[in-house]
C-alpha cells in the first residue's frame, strides 16, 4: 500500500504529461478522468441551463424531481434511454446510425490536448491548437450526414444551414486564433502551437493575452467569443435548430438515445471551444494576477479559494435546507439537500489539505474560467433574439472576417514595432 502511494506520488511529481512521457497506464487513467469529468459537466450544464434560464425569466424551473430539481438531468437521461428508437422510412440506415457518432467523436477527441495544468493534460502535442481546430471542424461532417440521412426536407435544410454557418465562422475563429498565436512569438523562445506552451508564454510575458497591446487582445478575444457561439449553434445563432423555425433542424428525426448523443456532443463542443478561449486569452490555469500579487501570503490566499468556494456552495445548500417547506412529504427532499450540502462541504474541507490544495489549484482555476464561459452561453440564450440566417452570414463574412484580418496585421505591426522602426530609419537614412 505504501509502495502504491509512493508510485503515485513519484508519478505526480514528474514534469511531463503522460503522453509526453510515453506512459500508457497514466494516459488511460487521465483519459478516464477527463471522460467522467466531462459527463458530470454535461449533466451539471443541463440542470444549470434550465435553472438559470428560468430565473432569468422570473420563474422557478424544475423543482419537483429532486430538491430544487437536482435529479432532473438523471430523470431526463432515463427517459431518453427508454424512448422508442424511430428510424424514418427511406432513410439510409448506415449513415443514419453513423452520423451521431461522428459528432460525438469529434467533440470528445478534442479533449486530448486541453491543458488543465502544466502537466495535467492527456498529452501535449506539438500542434495542439491546430489539432483542436481541425478535429472540431469534423463535426460539420456529422451534421451534414445527419440532415441528409433523415430523408426529409426540414432536417436537410437545417443541416445545410447549420454547416454553412459553422464553416463560415470557423474562418473567423481561425483568424482570431492566429493573432493570439502571433502574440506567443514575441517571447524569447519563439512562437509555439502547443497548448501548454501558450499558457507558459503568457506566464513569461507577464500579461494575459487578453490585455496585451491594449485593444487588440480584447478585440481578438471578442471575435473568438462571437465566433465560438456561432460555431456551436447556440443562441443567438441557433436558427438551424430553433423549434419555431425548422422544428429542431438536423436532429428532428432523431429520438431517444441518438438525440442524447447530439445533445452530449453540443455541450462538449461548448466546453471545448471555451477551453480554447481560456487557454489562448485568459491565461489557462494561472490564478488571477500571478505577477502583480506575488509572494507567499498571496499564494496562500489564492490557494485557499477552491476550498472556500466549495464551502460557500455547501453553506447555500444548508441555507436552502432550512428554507424547505416543513411538510412531512418533503422529508426525503430535505434530507437529500442536506446530504448534498454535506458532500460539498466535505470536498471543500478536503481541499484545504495541503498536498491536494497545491495540485488541484490549477485545475480549479481552469474549470472556474470555463464555468464563467458556460454562464455567458446561458446568459446569451436568455437575453438575445435570434439572428436571421442572412444576417448571420453577413456578420460572419462581412464583419468578423475583415476585422480579424485587420487585427492580425495590426498585432504583427505593433509586436514588431521596434524592428519596423529600425527598418524605416534605415530606408530614410539611405534616401
Amino acid at each position: 500500500m505504501h509502495d502504491l502511494i509512493q508510485y503515485i506520488q513519484s508519478y505526480l511529481d514528474s514534469d511531463r504529461t503522460p503522453g509526453g512521457a510515453g506512459n500508457i497506464l497514466w494516459a488511460t487513467v487521465y483519459i478516464l478522468l477527463v471522460f467522467v469529468g466531462l459527463s458530470i459537466a454535461v449533466i451539471a450544464m443541463n440542470w444549470l441551463e434550465r435553472k438559470i434560464l428560468a430565473h432569468m425569466q422570473v420563474r422557478l424551473g424544475p423543482m419537483r424531481v429532486g430538491p430544487h430539481g437536482l435529479l432532473q438531468p438523471i430523470a431526463d437521461a432515463i427517459k431518453l434511454l427508454l424512448k422508442e428508437d424511430i428510424i424514418p422510412e427511406g432513410a439510409d440506415k448506415v449513415i443514419f446510425w453513423i452520423a451521431p457518432f461522428i459528432v460525438v467523436l469529434a467533440a470528445f477527441t478534442v479533449f486530448v490536448v486541453v491543458p488543465f495544468g502544466p502537466t495535467h493534460a492527456i498529452t501535449d502535442m506539438n500542434i495542439g491548437i491546430l489539432f483542436m481546430l481541425g478535429v472540431s471542424s469534423l463535426s460539420v461532417l456529422g451534421i451534414v450526414t445527419a440532415g441528409w440521412a433523415s430523408n426529409s426536407h426540414y432536417p436537410l435544410i437545417g443541416a445545410l444551414r447549420s454547416s454553412a454557418q459553422m464553416v463560415s465562422y470557423e474562418v473567423a475563429m481561425g483568424l482570431a486564433v492566429v493573432s493570439a498565436i502571433l502574440m506567443t512569438s514575441f517571447s524569447e523562445q519563439g512562437g509555439t502551437l502547443s497548448m501548454i506552451d501558450i499558457v507558459r508564454r503568457q506566464q513569461e510575458q507577464g500579461v494575459w493575452f487578453l490585455f496585451k497591446f491594449f485593444p487588440l487582445g480584447i478585440i481578438a478575444f471578442g471575435i473568438f467569443a462571437i465566433a465560438m457561439v456561432a460555431e456551436t449553434n447556440r443562441a443567438p445563432f441557433d436558427l438551424p435548430e430553433a423549434e419555431s423555425e425548422l422544428t429542431a433542424g438536423f436532429h428532428t428525426e432523431y429520438s431517444g438515445f441518438r438525440w442524447s448523443l447530439f445533445f452530449l456532443a453540443e455541450y462538449s463542443a461548448m466546453i471545448a471551444v471555451s477551453s480554447i478561449a481560456v487557454t489562448l486569452w485568459l491565461g489557462g490555469w494561472l490564478r488571477p494576477f500571478p505577477n502583480l500579487l506575488s509572494g507567499n501570503t498571496w499564494e496562500l490566499a489564492f490557494s485557499l479559494v477552491p476550498g472556500i468556494s466549495f464551502l460557500f456552495l455547501a453553506a447555500m445548500c444548508f441555507y436552502n435546507t432550512a428554507r424547505m417547506p416543513k411538510h412531512p412529504l418533503f422529508k426525503i427532499q430535505t434530507a437529500g439537500l442536506a446530504g448534498f450540502g454535506a458532500v460539498l462541504g466535505l470536498i471543500g474541507l478536503l481541499l484545504f489539505w495541503t498536498p491536494l490544495r497545491v495540485r488541484v489549484g490549477d485545475i480549479f482555476w481552469f474549470s472556474a474560467k470555463v464555468a464563467g464561459f458556460m454562464y455567458l452561453y446561458i446568459w446569451y440564450r436568455g437575453t438575445f433574439p435570434r439572428y436571421r440566417f442572412d444576417q448571420l452570414m453577413k456578420v460572419g463574412w462581412k464583419v468578423l472576417l475583415p476585422t480579424g484580418l485587420g487585427l492580425l496585421i495590426l498585432t504583427a505591426a505593433v509586436g514588431m514595432r521596434v524592428e519596423l522602426w529600425q527598418q524605416l530609419q534605415e530606408v530614410l537614412h539611405n534616401l
Binding site: L130, G134, L141, V144
Partner: protein, 188 residues
Amino acid sequence: MNPSVTNPPVATAFFFYLLAATMIIGGILVITRKNAVHSAMALITALLAQAGLYLMLYAPFVAGVQIILYAGGIMVLFLFVIMLISIERTMKERQFNKQWLVGITAAAVLGGLFITVYTTVTRTASGKESTLFPSGNRVAYVDAQNTQGIAMLLFDRGAGTYMFAFEIASLLLLVAIIGAVVMAKKRI
C-alpha cells in the same frame, strides 16, 4: 550524422498495419459503392487514417493540415455537392463504364510496373546487391521542431526556398475561388 533512436515509439507495426488496412478498405469502398454518400464516408475514413500515417512518419503539421483541409474542408464540399444533385436516379443506373475491362487491364499493367521497380535487385560493380530503397537511417524525433522547420523552409529570408511557390499557391487559390464562383452561378 546518424543520431540513434532515443524514444522508440510504441507498437509501430500494429498501428501501421491497422491504418494501412483502413486505407485500403476505404479505397476499395470508394471505388465500388453505388451510393455516392457511402463513397464519401469511406474516403473520409481513408483520409483520417492517412493523417494517422503522417503522425507515424513524424510529420505532425502535415497531419494537422490533412485533418483541417482534406477531411474537414474538401470532403464537406463533396458532401454538399452530392446532396444538392439528385442521386436516387443515378443509383438505379449502370455504375461501371463500357471500358471497364480496358481500365482494369491498364491498372494491372501499372501494378506490374510498380512491382518490378520495387523488387529489382541491382548488382553494383563490386558485386554487392542492393534494392532500390535500403532501410535504416532512423532519425530521433526532436520535439517542437517540425512546425518551426516547415516555417523556416517556407518563409525564412535566408533559407526559405519555397517562398515563391507559396505566393504562387495563394494566387492559385484566388483563381480557384473566382473560377468556382463563376462556374456555379446561374447567370454571369
